[in-house]
Symmetry: C2
Subunit: 152 residues, 2 copies
DNA sequence: CCATCATGTAACATATCAAGTTACATGAAA
DNA sequence: TTTCATGTAACTTGATATGTTACATGATGG
């Protein structure tokens, strides 16, 4: 369990949901993602709070898309996860008294900041709708599919 | 101990060394960095292999700069550390059979790749000499300093 | 030669965090 | 009221950077 794959995971879930009418239970989604229902609920919690999805309890309950896929970007989804750290590297000390460290931080912060900004910008260019359309292309002429036929 | 701060740390060490003639023992450097001598040896090992620094045992031993500071970039130093992961996020599955996951990966890989490339390019633009000059500016008119007066 | 110093390295300890798991409460539908 | 599904807390697991201890290796100076 090395790098954070929540963004990858939650996009996978959303794209699955966009392919068929819902609702989807956490268990169904978890099976398709080869993971645990609780993990699904965890990564979906933030999306629910922002109104991108809805969840219903009881019989016939589960998760439903509740947003305009052409309006929501990958960056929005990232933010819904709580904007976890993008970079694996950081400064030893954030506000050092040591001038040497300050010089190092200044240089690294510049580079790190640029990279983060570019990444966020790129993520902001991709809507969920675009991802769905790309998926459609990959599916080619195949007819609508079940959730179990194409696990990772 | 969250994010990898080895690059920050090793740059700090190199900059300290560039300010005064050597050699410097791991213990001296460790004190200035408020860490352990073994940690210093560990992050310096890769630099030694690439010839950026030398190390001598015994009396009067320690670490010495062994490169042209105007030729070595922060990117080189990063590579000497073994090029650890730059991004904190990654794909759930690297080579998925699932087409949904492939679509997600394609989009994320594009953004991640761009950000990594930019970061590496930025790091490649900064030489150790430039860091040293920036440090000199920050030091202002102060005279050459000891190692213990400006800890982080 | 030998005591001292310093690096080199293995081994172990600690801290953090994502991910996985278990357990149970809450609430909706049949 | 039974069943189903989410909500959430608590615990476990695995990975990794960092910190620490211990000891071997080799160089210097007496």
């Amino acid at each position: 369990m090395k790098r954070d794959s929540r963004l990858s995971g939650v996009l996978h879930v959303l794209l699955h949901m966009a392919q068929q009418p819902g609702p989807f239970t956490s268990e169904t989604l978890a099976k398709a993602m080869d993971t645990n229902p609780v993990v699904i609920r965890r990564i979906m919690a933030g999306l629910r709070e922002l109104g991108y999805v809805r969840s219903e309890k009881g019989h016939g309950g589960g998760w439903t898309l509740a947003c305009d896929l052409s309006k929501v970007t990958v960056r929005d989804v990232y933010a819904a996860l709580g904007s976890p750290a993008l970079l694996a590297m950081g400064n030893r000390t954030e506000a050092p008294g040591c001038l040497v460290e300050q010089a190092v931080n200044a240089a690294l912060d510049q580079a790190f900041g640029d990279a983060e900004a570019l990444l966020l910008a790129r993520l902001g260019e991709v809507t969920l709708k675009m991802l769905g359309e790309d998926l459609r292309k990959r599916l080619g002429s195949r007819k609508p599919h079940g959730m179990s036929a194409h696990h990772a």
